[in-house]
């Protein structure tokens, strides 16, 4: 790390911060993936977590995932609320016995020294009604601020995890703000340069936050979105139905991944409709249930694929 130029140091630049995390987890044997090419509410939706958490085969991966939360948009006016932000996601299956220690070392790698900072594991039972998933773990606190989620998956997409995977989710902007010592997300130094060369988070994303807030709350075409939800739901079911085969000695599925893409799609469309305020309280539950049904069916298909099934 000593050889790192200043502008790449995690406490100086947002991109250096991300690179430090990637490098740390690469050294722990994780495959470093790139973001999934679809809109989603959290890194957990990435098939590298949702689907790969299922089945007996070992899997260690880490990646950045842009996360879209249409409802959290604030037109760029709130110092730390964004409708688009980055999560850094680590999944290790089976969960290694020293996962907590690894996590603490990863904090050290991004400049958070646990001898000086008060790091705490505070109870947090994680549950995702849309994914049919739950796990137990903690919110990880640094000096009273929640900086990560730490979860031992017990069930995902309605399927028991065997073995259990450990999942870590870092809220990158919030952590980087802490490390850089800025109070407004848009003031984050993105590239670690100073003066004319400096690019801030605001230079990259402020306009996007304003435009998407407008879109999410005021203009997103709800008639189209309702239609898209239905189409994604139908497509997911169609691909799932078409994917089943009778294998030599067990049932197989040949299209779990494309079907799951449609589930991701439906989930994001629902989030947009929710942000537009066109879904009533009672309907809300039913939409969440519909996405969950898709997720469960995809999980069921996945554990009958080459990668997802027992040997």
């Amino acid at each position: 790390m000593d050889a790192l130029p200043d502008h790449m140091r995690p406490e100086r630049s947002f991109q250096g911060f991300i690179l430090a995390l990637q490098r740390f987890w690469a050294e722990q044997g994780c495959v470093i993936l790139q973001p999934y090419d679809m809109e989603m509410g959290a890194g957990t939706f990435h098939p590298a977590t949702t689907l790969r958490a299922l089945g007996p085969k070992p899997w260690n991966a880490a990646y950045v995932q842009p996360s879209r939360r249409p409802k959290d948009g604030r037109y760029g006016e709130n110092p730390n609320r964004l409708q688009h932000y980055y999560q850094f996601q680590v999944i290790m299956k089976p969960s290694p016995p020293n996962l907590q220690e690894l996590y603490l070392k990863s904090l050290a790698a991004i400049g958070i020294d646990s001898a000086v900072h008060d790091i705490r594991f505070v109870e947090d039972d994680w549950e995702s009604p849309t994914l049919g998933a739950w796990g137990l773990g903690w919110e990880c606190w640094c000096d009273g601020m929640e900086v990560s989620q730490f979860t031992y998956f017990q069930q995902v997409a309605g399927v028991e995890c065997a073995p259990v995977a450990g999942e870590l989710t870092y809220g990158l902007e919030r952590l980087a703000m802490y490390v850089q010592g800025v109070d407004r997300v848009y003031d984050l130094n993105f590239n670690g340069r100073e003066g004319a060369e400096k690019v801030t988070y605001g230079d990259v994303f402020l306009q996007a936050e304003q435009e998407y807030s407008r879109h999410n709350f005021e203009y997103a075409d709800t008639a189209m979105l309702f239609e898209q939800f239905k189409m994604a739901e139908e497509a997911c079911r169609k691909y799932l139905a078409a994917g089943w085969r009778e294998g030599s000695n067990h049932k197989e599925h040949l299209m779990a991944l494309p079907a799951y893409d449609q589930c991701i799609k439906a989930s994001h469309v629902f989030n947009l409709l929710d942000a537009r305020g066109v879904i009533s309280v009672t309907e809300r539950q039913s939409y969440i249930g519909r996405v969950r049904d898709l997720a469960k069916a995809c999980g069921e298909a996945w554990i009958h694929t080459e990668t997802g099934r027992a040997v």
Binding site: P94, S114, A115, H117, D118, I119, Y152, Q154, V164, Y178
Partner: protein
């Protein structure tokens, strides 16, 4: 005698589960020891975020030997029975059995001796079972072993087990067992950050001391004491006072193994937010205490945090970090509060039309209208202004739609009061917003302002009447709508304010006016609700040490079911209790009971009742005449007093009956030879019973 030390070392246990887990561990291990014949001298359990620990001292080194006798077949029984007996008892032949005679013949008896086992072996069997069946509210699987079914579950991953057993004077032995690959041993670990190394422990005393040296305070009470004392002192040093908070203290002590208390501050401008909002923000989100100025009683811009480490910079970084987190939180709270102030409470009401209270009981808007109507009906009965009561009822729940209450539901009502005052409402109207939720539990105070009383009663009676109407009553331990609490609330409000309202007619009014139900269609429902109230009343009075039988005795002569108001019923129970403590009361009760007993027997014998007026012409003795006169006089006096609800006077009147009753039983033989005289005397006895019913049904009183 030897001691047991047990520690279960895991990843962080949720704070709220620690105390119960320690208790469960102690109970499960000691119950099992006793069941195995290992009666111990003492046991204590502890919890920190990362460990459950238990010490049991004074356990016998061995189980006592067990001798049991087992009865077998009769002598000369078929061979199959004999063989079965030998097999079951382990005897080689019948020669090893004793023979015992009893009334039914001679039987074989086997004497089975089971030598006691070494306690350490028994414990090695007990502990894995307890660990595998430990009652965590939620437990989980982890790691490679979770690939197979039947793997160990624990609240969070379990890493190490320490289990030693032995005498104080000797090197203890390790209790040898393993659970899902974790071998019990004598190695534990210190503080996660300050002393993470392995520690070898022998027994409880060195275990606790070595943990302390490794920056772990094992005893949760000791951690609480440190936090509380240090927090108070930090505040005191600045001339301030800690706002104590037991629930928060319990939680915080479960988040640290080595509490380090420090003080931080926030910008003074945030003090424009109500104190309760500041406190909720800092407490719920940050688990920090707030601090007040003892002179004004108002919060200051300080807070007290509890860290888990002693940092080399003296905690400067930690304090600065916490301050940075609290600032945006308070900034959000301030924004919420100021946003709320921009909308008048009544302008929020239309939104309630979209919010369902219960699918069968309509929207919140409908519910609020019902409460308003009922509150207006109650208002004159409790001395409240009707128009103000209406307004209070209309606004009382409007704060549920505010940002602050959305964020901090525990501030409902209180925020309503602040917002009502801010928009210039009458002080009583504003107060009702907070007060009408009360009492929230048996120890919470009840509202006293007439306006709040009216709205609180209307709110709770609407809930009760509504849920009774749709047949959603509490059953057993299930009471999802907290209806028992609502009923108890109504009872306490009435009793503590000495409010005179009749539940029955109010509920009848409400069901007709707000639910459109005719009395005849709902009489049965009202009956059941009144009986429910009477049951709650008994529970409430029992908690106040009133006698259950006295309540029954009074209810038998005038109940909620029959439409009597609550207050006089309770006054009467009270007066009756005091009367029965006097000699007059005790003797009158004895006399009345004697009269009742005789009557019951004779009524049975004659298969008839003696409920007509006695014939004065048939009185033969003075005692009969005196008693008859006393009864007439007491009946009149007691009834008049009861009508005026002067129960003390009613009881004094009753007391006058006693000498006449005593004299009657002394001198008069009821079962006279002349059947006419006998019948007349029985009628007179019946009159005693009737007279006492003016105040209570004495036959229901015990003793």
């Amino acid at each position: 005698m030897p001691d047991l030390l047990l520690e279960l070392f895991s990843e962080e246990i949720p704070a709220r589960m620690q105390a119960k887990a320690a208790d469960d561990l102690r109970r499960m291990v000691t119950d099992k020891l006793v069941a195995e014949g290992l009666v111990y001298e003492g046991a204590k359990a502890f919890a920190t975020p990362r460990r459950l620990a238990l010490t049991v001292h004074g356990i016998p080194a061995r189980q006592p030997d067990l001798k049991t006798e087992r009865r077998g077949p009769k002598i000369g029984a078929p061979d199959a029975a004999v063989q079965g007996f030998l097999k079951a008892t382990g005897l080689k032949s019948l020669d090893e059995a004793k023979i015992q005679k009893d009334a039914k013949g001679d039987f074989y008896i086997a004497l089975i001796e089971k030598p006691g086992r070494a306690a350490i072996d028994v414990i090695a069997e007990i502990l894995p079972v307890i660990i595998r069946t430990f009652p965590w509210p939620k437990s989980m699987r982890w790691g490679a072993r979770s690939a197979k079914s039947g793997s160990l579950t624990w609240v969070r991953p379990l890493h190490a087990i320490t289990a030693t057993f032995g005498l104080e004077t000797e090197e203890p032995d390790i209790v040898k067992f393993s659970v899902d690959g974790i071998e019990a041993g004598q190695t534990t670990y210190g503080h996660r950050f300050m002393a993470p190394g392995a520690i070898s422990v022998r027994r409880f005393e060195d275990y606790e001391a070595k943990l302390k040296a490794a920056k772990v305070i094992l005893d949760p009470q000791a951690r609480k004491d440190i936090i509380l004392e240090d927090a108070k002192e930090l505040a005191f040093a600045q001339g301030l006072e800690l706002v104590e908070d037991q629930v928060l203290l319990d939680e915080v002590s479960g988040l640290v193994e080595w509490p380090v208390v420090m003080m931080g501050s926030f910008e003074k401008e945030f003090l424009s937010i109500p104190d309760e909002v500041i406190r909720a923000t800092i407490r719920n989100n940050q688990k920090c205490f707030v601090v007040k100025d003892p002179k004004t009683g108002k919060l200051t811009n300080k807070f007290v945090l509890t860290a888990n480490i002693e940092a080399p910079d003296g905690g400067k970084t930690i304090v600065a970090g916490n301050e940075r987190v609290i600032r945006p939180r308070l900034s959000d709270a301030k924004f919420f509060y100021e946003t709320d102030l921009k909308t008048r409470l009544e302008d929020r009401l239309p939104k309630f039309e979209q919010i369902v209270f219960h699918e069968k009981l309509g929207t919140q808007a409908e519910r609020i209208k019902r409460i308003e109507r009922l509150a207006a009906e109650i208002a004159p009965l409790v001395g409240a202004d009707v128009e103000k009561t209406r307004r209070a009822a209309r606004l009382a729940k409007a704060d549920l739609l505010t940002e602050v209450v959305g964020e901090f539901p525990e501030l409902q009502g209180l925020m309503g009061k602040y917002y009502a005052l801010a928009q210039g409402e009458d002080a009583s109207v504003a107060a009702a917003s907070e007060e009408h939720w009360k009492p929230q539990g048996p120890t919470d105070r009840v509202p006293t302002d007439p306006l709040s009383v009216a709205v609180a009663l209307a709110d709770k009676l609407d809930t009760l009447a509504g849920f009774w109407l749709i047949d959603e009553k509490p059953t057993g331990s299930k009471d999802p709508f907290a209806l028992r609490r609502a009923a108890l609330g109504v009872i306490r409000i009435v009793l503590e304010n000495r409010t005179r309202i009749g539940f029955r007619n109010l509920v009848e009014f409400h069901l007709k006016n707000s639910f459109g139900k005719d009395y005849l269609d709902v009489a049965d429902i009202i009956d059941h609700l009144m009986i429910f109230f009477e049951e709650r009343l008994k529970v409430q009075l029992r908690d106040q040490k009133a006698r259950h039988d006295l309540v029954d005795a009074v209810l038998a002569t005038g109940s909620l079911l029959q439409g009597h108001p609550l207050m006089p019923i309770v006054d009467r129970v009270d007066a009756l209790g005091r009367f029965l403590d006097t000699d007059d009361g005790k003797n009158l009760l004895a006399g009345t009971k004697r009269a009742s007993n005789i009557l019951t027997i004779e009524e049975k014998k004659d298969k008839r009742e003696f409920d007509h007026e006695p014939d004065a012409a048939l009185y033969k003795l003075d005692e009969e005449k005196t008693l008859a006169k006393a009864i007439d006089q007491v009946k009149a006096e007691a009834s008049a007093a009861v009508a005026k609800e002067d129960f003390a006077a009613a009881m004094s009147a009753m007391a006058k009956l006693r000498p006449a009753v005593d004299a009657f039983f002394d001198k008069v033989k009821v079962n006279d030879g002349d059947p006419k005289v006998r019948e007349n005397r029985l009628k007179l006895l019946n009159e005693i019973r009737a007279a006492t019913r003016a105040v209570a049904d004495f036959s229901r009183i015990e003793g």
